[in-house]
């Protein structure tokens, strides 16, 4: 089963997947003109900041099987493409009841007008379509192509899980000194700085001495 796998520890919050996604779902497919289109094309992947600065998670539809959204959709607007392994919305049949959003385990469904939908004023369910057009051409999804740090990867699920397993193995063995450590991680300090910012806010909020200036 081919899917987009997420390595959240690698996400550095550049938002390039969001821009690539919105562009892919535009009429012009051109970043320079996509943002001028009406209705405005929308990203279907959302990079949300984590609990401390310098962390983030790119959230998108996981194309569940069975898909709760498809199960509850009263108009049958949501269906699965078995061949490509993606869950798709027929925007013309969507009645914006938001039941799909209610049951989505990942809050991955949004509602905006769409060029493919019933009209420029009518919001319909928008979510990741797995870049079906690209998949049919043998290309990876746009978000994966845009990601230059391996936070989003596309391939056979078990292969992707295995890749993560191998990285974990190397890290565990380095930590237990059973294998030499790799080169210094340039991101470690960046991540640590985010944690320090949160700590500093906590410390500053704890009055330790008279700051003066009170009336």
């Amino acid at each position: 089963m081919r899917t987009v796998f997420v390595n959240p520890e690698r996400c550095i919050g550049c938002l390039q997947c969001e821009i690539a996604c919105a562009t892919e779902h535009s009429s012009s497919k051109n970043v320079a003109s996509a943002f001028l289109e009406a209705p405005q094309p929308r990203a279907r992947i959302h990079v949300e900041p984590g609990p401390v600065p310098s962390t983030a998670y790119p959230n998108r539809c996981r194309h569940c099987d069975p898909a709760p959204c498809a199960q509850v959709c009263p108009t049958g607007a949501i269906h699965r493409d078995r061949g490509l392994g993606v869950v798709l919305v027929d925007e013309d049949r969507c009645i914006s009841c938001a039941m799909c959003a209610v049951v989505c385990p990942f809050d991955a469904v949004t509602f905006y007008p769409s060029a493919a939908g019933p009209g420029p004023e009518v919001a319909v369910a928008l979510k990741c379509d797995g870049c079906v057009e690209r998949l049919r051409r043998g290309q990876p999804p746009a978000c994966v192509e845009a990601c230059k740090v391996g936070a989003l990867v596309f391939g056979d699920l078990n292969d992707l899980v295995a890749a993560g397993r191998l990285r974990a193995t190397a890290a565990v063995l380095a930590a237990t000194a059973a294998a030499p450590p790799g080169p210094p991680d340039p991101l470690a300090a960046w991540h640590a700085f985010g944690a320090e910012l949160v700590a500093a806010a906590g410390h500053a909020a704890r009055p330790t001495h008279d700051r003066g200036g009170e009336r």
Partner: protein
């Protein structure tokens, strides 16, 4: 939900005035810098790590810091070159900002020398003649105007390409100058180094990160010993050399019953004539006719520091207070020149009766009233600006006025001349206090505010811990204002210091934290360090000194960091610069530089840990000088605090 949603005001600033105004802004739906920081989360990691490049149209490019994606831009530049180029360009921007400020002062100085200005004069003729002697200009028996014109000529040449070294670089100790010469980083001309930095960072020019970083240091030096020093020295000549002065600080300096005018930005050249205009009887009468009891000038940021240093003008706040000062509803006008003035001030002002008055043709603000500065009409423009502010007073809505706290007293005015004056004319008393160990060393705590950090927390906490351990602290810029608000900058603040430093401060009647001025006045710190080194016959890097920029945000701060380190003073930054995508650049700046210029950078956001690192560094320097020292390893560096949920 973004990271900082729900951060309470007490987590955003340690100051009650800021906290109350943040809550008020939130209640009124007025967007501030903290809201915009939230909206930017997550911020781009490529850019935070310095590995994105927009220098050419084959790009934009970014390289994968994990090393699995692209490791080179289209041109072939890897992380080392991209990071070094970006850092170099940032330093050039910061150095250019300071130096163009210096040039603006120089131009007014030259025009004043020729008698073409109104509202300006040579205020410190003694300093003019001392500068003339230093610059090889005949200063004796000639009218001040003629001397000033020749001094201006010499300094104009410092901006160009005809010299082997900028004039004031000659003030550095001989050993330091020799080291610069050997490394090829003597600043030759101010504009030249900046232009060369832009040239070198064009695609396909300097492709060696070491060479790029060395030129970045030279570019910084052209600021510290060039543009900034010219700004400081000529401002002293035109407006007076600062001497100790008492004043007040925080938003409590705004008055309920007066026309409040905030002077914000960096250049003292116009604000000085505004001070005169605010005392104009006709304008004071006009204010009274509208029911105000007078005209109250306050400072913000470094224009405020310039005015505090020379005129004792009260200070409303530092960088992160600029929007909040408007939220008091008590500000009739904010007069802005340039640098660090958020484009948002006009948006916040639009929610109130406050007029934003822009004064520099280089710095325009849509929505502001533009009254461009012209030194030939200085006095007249000063009056026009004050008149505009007074005319806004009837529009003030008293129901929206909220001045949060009572002001805190503080002391400014410690130019090098004033410090040496307090010491009795020679660095000897300070040097012997350092030699005996009563004072362990001295640290310059400088730089900005950054909304990523709780406002002023690191400035105040670091400074407090240093003075408690007998380290004399000198401050400039936003760091100075932070310490002022915390009540750490009065002669009686000596009681907060350790026994040794307290004794020295009490004997001299000075605070343990000395205000040396605006951010261009970091040049005063260089002059003082050079004077101490010369007195001892050593180089600056041998002295028990350090620098700290705990809450920096600006490209100017990066330039300051570059020239301070290149001058031999190790500097601790509280906010990560965008260089961590290149471990080689980090290794060089945080380690290798020590063997080259005798100083290096460190990054430590936690002020307690930063204080310990600095004290260890100072004790190491003391040991090397053969002075009584504490074992550096005995100074505990506490573990980083656990994140608070």
């Amino acid at each position: 939900m973004s990271v900082s949603d729900g951060r309470r005001a007490v987590q955003l600033s340690i100051n009650r005035d800021a906290q109350e105004m943040i809550d008020l802004a939130r209640a009124e739906g007025i967007e501030t810098v903290w809201d915009r920081l939230d909206a930017q989360q997550p911020q781009c990691g490529f850019c935070a790590l310095g590995v994105s490049c927009r220098n050419c149209a084959m790009g934009p490019c970014r390289v994968d810091p994990f090393g699995e994606g692209p490791t080179k831009g289209v041109c072939g530049a890897g992380a080392d070159v991209i990071v070094a180029r970006n850092l170099g360009r940032g330093i050039a921007a910061g150095a250019s900002a300071h130096s163009d400020h210096g040039r603006d002062i120089l131009e007014v100085f030259a025009s004043t020398a020729r008698g073409e200005t109104t509202g300006y004069r040579i205020a410190d003729e003694g300093k003019l003649r001392r500068l003339a002697a230093e610059l090889g200009v005949d200063g004796d028996q000639r009218p001040a105007g003629d001397v000033a014109a020749d001094v201006a000529d010499v300094l104009f040449d410092d901006f160009g390409s005809r010299k082997d070294g900028v004039s004031f670089a000659g003030r550095a100790p001989a050993a330091r100058r020799a080291r610069w010469q050997e490394l090829g980083i003597t600043p030759r001309g101010i504009d030249r180094e900046n232009v060369e930095m832009l040239h070198r960072t064009h695609m396909g020019v300097d492709n060696d990160h070491v060479s790029l970083l060395l030129h970045a240091l030279r570019t910084g030096l052209s600021d510290g010993w060039g543009g900034s020093m010219i700004a400081t020295e000529l401002s002293d000549v035109l407006f007076g050399t600062p001497s100790p002065v008492l004043s007040e600080v925080n938003l409590g300096v705004l008055r309920h019953d007066q026309v409040n005018v905030a002077l914000h930005g960096h250049n003292p050249v116009l604000s000085d004539v505004i001070v005169a205009a605010a005392e104009d009887p006709e304008l004071v009468d006009l204010a009274r006719s509208y029911g105000a009891s007078g005209i109250n000038l306050v400072g913000l940021c470094c224009t405020g520091n310039e005015l505090l240093m020379r005129r004792g003008v009260p200070m409303a706040g530092n960088h992160l207070m600029q929007e909040l000062a408007i939220v008091t509803g008590a500000l009739e006008a904010m007069v802005v020149d340039y640098q660090c003035i958020m484009p948002s001030v006009t948006d916040v002002a639009a929610c109130y009766h406050t007029k934003i008055i822009s004064t520099s043709d280089k710095a325009r603000f849509p929505g502001a009233t533009h009254l461009p500065f012209d030194p030939r009409r200085g006095a007249e423009i000063g009056r026009e600006i004050i008149r505009a502010a007074v005319e806004a007073y009837p529009d003030r809505n008293p129901d929206r006025v909220h001045i949060p706290v009572a002001p805190v007293r503080w002391m400014g005015g410690f130019s090098v001349e004033a410090i040496l004056g307090a010491l009795g004319g020679s660095p000897e008393p300070l040097v012997s206090a350092i030699a005996s160990g009563a004072i362990r060393g001295a640290v310059a705590v400088v730089g900005c505010n950054n909304p990523k950090l709780p406002q002023d927390y690191a400035h105040v906490e670091l400074t407090r811990q240093l003075i408690e351990h007998d380290v004399l602290v000198v401050v400039t810029g936003c760091a100075a204002v932070a310490n002022g608000k915390a009540g750490q900058m009065l002669p009686e603040s000596a009681s907060m210091a350790g026994t040794g430093l307290r004794g020295v401060c009490e004997a001299l009647g000075i605070p343990p934290v000395l205000h040396m001025g605006s951010c261009v006045d970091n040049s005063r710190v260089l002059v003082l360090a050079g004077a101490l080194a010369d007195f001892l016959g050593v180089d600056i890097d041998q002295l028990p000194l350090a620098g700290a920029a705990p809450e920096w945000y600006s490209e100017k701060a990066v330039s300051i960091g570059a020239y301070v380190v290149a001058s031999g003073v190790t500097t601790v930054l509280g906010v990560q610069p965008p260089i961590f995508g290149s471990p080689r650049v980090v290794d060089l700046l945080a380690g290798g530089l020590d063997g080259v210029v005798g100083a290096r950078f460190a990054v430590e956001p936690d002020p307690s840990r930063a204080a310990a690192l600095i004290r260890r560094h100072i004790e190491e320097k003391r040991r090397a000088l053969g002075l009584p020292f504490e074992d550096p390893d005995s100074i505990a560096v506490t573990a980083p605090a656990a994140p608070v949920g």
